[in-house]
């Protein structure tokens, strides 16, 4: 654990760490000064659109790429120069990359057979059987890979990785090739597996729902950089930038002038003169900012109806109304603010009535709703 080549003092709870890790491919900056600690036993997701650097980060962890600058540490040791086959991590590949000339059991036992000194044959057999049982493929050992369905192949890939008891299990968009129903099932199974094995899981995905559903923490990436790291709830409730607010869930972004700050709240005047009270980011002293507010945090009311005390109102006209079962999505042209979205729960709409396209309404902005974005981007 103590390594003379490493000057960095590792955090004991960190199973892996990126320290200023940068990766260039020619002129392209795929990963830009990534600093991240991956905690032992957590389920961490790299989330972002394609080309955001999430796959590069994962591949640096696996050992398929080495950082151009900076370090990648596993268990406190700099592994930047350690080739993939000597790293204590295993990956579930995007299209599984199962060996077509081997049976299911041979695939699963492959990593064990690479150990030197060799493991006893009997031990390999036992471990393979156990891994196959874990992914509920106990009787499938002698089958050929092409006899397996997509979901089964994914389980084989999973078994092939976990049988080696890696320090970190890397998952590269493992659910991308599965249909929606199977994906949900697989997500639950992966979570259960992670809990029972206690292995650190690092998932790469572009699917925000998948990341939200599975992760202890999410690392949102954009343009090779980390945009924000946090629990799913933190990212949803307290996005630091427009990029994060837009990527995790939907958000209305409006600009405003801060006129006063007090006790975690900020008074602001929106572009159209409406005064609102927001949650504030501590330590922020800018006066002009962007404000994010979730569509479900706002309300809708007819122009002539009474407004509760402390609630600001923005006059608007309904341009689109989409019924989505549990809620209705309204797109509105708000006076002086451009397009806004408000989601009204089915129950509220049933109680208070809906609004037709073209109707003139008030967008209700309760006190303490909306968030001052800490970072401009």
């Amino acid at each position: 654990m103590t390594d003379a080549t490493t000057t960095h003092v590792p955090a004991p709870e960190a199973v892996a760490e990126f320290v200023g890790a940068t990766k260039r491919f020619g002129d392209v900056l795929a990963a830009d000064r990534i600093d991240l600690r991956i905690r032992r036993g957590e389920f961490l997701s790299f989330l972002g659109p394609s080309g955001c650097g999430k796959t590069t980060a994962l591949r640096m962890l696996a050992g398929f790429e080495s950082p151009t600058e900076g370090e990648v540490l596993i268990d406190g040791r700099d592994v930047s120069a350690v080739p993939a086959h000597k790293r204590p991590v295993n990956m579930v590949f995007q299209h599984y990359a199962l060996f077509p000339h081997m049976t299911v059991a041979q695939n699963v036992g492959y990593g064990l057979r690479q150990r030197r000194p060799r493991l006893p044959k009997r031990e390999i057999e036992l471990k393979v059987a156990k891994a196959l049982a874990t992914v509920r493929l106990a009787d499938f050992g002698p089958r050929r890979i092409w006899e397996m369905s997509g979901g089964q192949q994914q389980r084989v890939a999973l078994a092939r990785a976990i049988v080696n008891e890696p320090k970190i299990l890397l998952l590269d968009e493992p659910m991308a090739a599965l249909d929606a129903k199977l994906r949900g099932e697989m997500q639950r199974e992966l979570l259960e597996l992670q809990r029972s094995l206690g292995i650190t899981f690092v998932l790469v995905t572009h699917d925000q729902e998948e990341a939200l559903a599975m992760s202890d923490r999410i690392c949102i990436m954009g343009k090779g950089r980390i945009a924000q790291v946090g629990t799913p709830q933190e990212l949803y409730d307290r996005p630091r930038s427009r990029y994060v607010a837009d990527f995790v869930g939907k958000a209305n972004i409006v600009s405003g002038q801060i006129t006063g700050r007090q006790g975690g709240l900020a008074q602001a005047v929106l572009g159209n003169g409406v005064k609102v009270v927001l949650r504030d980011e501590p330590g922020d002293d800018r006066t002009t900012t962007e404000i994010a507010v979730r569509p479900e945090a706002l309300g809708l009311a007819a122009r002539d109806s009474a407004v509760p005390a402390g609630t600001a109102v923005v006059p608007a006209r309904v341009t689109h109304r989409t019924f989505l079962g549990d809620h209705t999505e309204y797109l509105l042209a708000a006076d002086g603010l451009g397009q806004m979205q408000v989601n009204v729960p089915r129950q509220a709409e049933r109680a208070l009535g809906g609004h037709d396209v073209g109707a003139l309404v008030h967008v209700l902005w309760p006190e303490g709703t909306g968030l001052v974005l800490a970072v401009d981007d």
Binding site: A84, M91, F93, F99, Y110, G111, W146
Partner: protein, 283 residues
């Protein structure tokens, strides 16, 4: 009903072709092989096993063919595999097409002319002259089995390169990453993943080259100088020079039998290695 009629109709040309061009000549050869040489040469009807009993007279031709064809195939394989690997895996896409064309370029000239070029290269003023410079005197290359080997490997190399290239080209490179991820150093990944998955290409190329080498007569005639005889040369001699069609036919039938045995072994090997289907590993 109409479907089966359409099928029959579509298969008729190929069926007629094979009947006329393959089965009929084979039947003729088979019948001739049990006949006798007529007094003025050619074929005289009869039924005798004399020609087959006589086969050992051409033992040298069979021995040369049955040693040089496998050795030539193996040599071509050993040279072609690294080349195909280089072309399929290592070369940047920019150069790939040009290098592939370069592999075929020799085919644009007749094998006859290219073999004559080798007469010069292997003859007294060619490579042996160069060897003299470094002190190796009196090295004879031309008209030796080695010269024939060089000629056949040179002539048939592209036929070995391309099937192997195709097999390696479609090999999913992620399988090698998966192997590395599971703890396999690169050289072992080659033996465990790349080599077995390129076996279909190796077997196709080897069979192609081997079958053609078994029937080869031009290169041994030119580079072997009449000293290194193949079965093909024996056939040319028997049919065109000594005009012993019956014995020639017996030799030809013997060659076909040897080939059938080889193809039989080949099919078995394919069944064993070909167990991996292409449509799998990719997705």
């Amino acid at each position: 009903m109409t479907q089966s009629r359409a099928r029959a109709l579509l298969l008729t040309p190929a069926g007629l072709w094979y009947a006329a061009m393959l089965l009929l000549p084979l039947a003729v050869v088979l019948i001739f092989s049990f006949g006798e040489r007529s007094a003025i040469g050619g074929y005289a009807p009869g039924f005798t096993f004399e020609q087959y009993a006589n086969l050992p007279a051409r033992f040298a031709a069979f021995r040369n063919t049955l040693t040089l064809a496998p050795v030539g195939t193996l040599a071509a394989l050993l040279i072609a595999y690294p080349l195909a690997y280089f072309l399929a895996v290592k070369v940047s896409p920019k150069w790939k097409t040009m290098l592939l064309v370069l592999v075929i370029v020799p085919f644009w000239t007749s094998i006859l002319i290219r073999s004559y070029a080798w007469i010069f290269l292997l003859g007294g003023k060619g490579i042996p002259a160069l060897l003299e410079v470094i002190g190796l005197d009196d090295v004879r290359l031309l008209n030796t089995p080695f010269a024939v080997l060089v000629g056949i490997v040179y002539g048939y190399l592209p036929l070995m390169v391309f099937p192997i290239y195709v097999a390696l080209e479609k090999l999913d490179k992620r399988l090698l990453e998966a192997a590395a991820d599971l703890g396999t150093p690169p050289w072992r990944a080659f033996l465990q993943i790349t080599l077995p998955l390129s076996m279909p290409g190796v077997l196709t190329g080897s069979m192609l080259v081997f079958i053609l080498l078994m029937g080869e007569f031009l290169i041994p005639a030119i580079l072997g100088g009449g000293k290194v005889f193949f079965v093909g040369n024996a056939l040319v001699d028997l049919f065109l020079q000594s005009r012993n069609w019956a014995f020639g036919s017996a030799v030809a039938v013997a060659l076909v039998v040897v080939m059938l045995i080889t193809v039989g072994i080949y099919t078995r090997l394919v069944k064993r290695f070909g167990a991996s289907r292409d449509d799998v590993g990719l997705m």
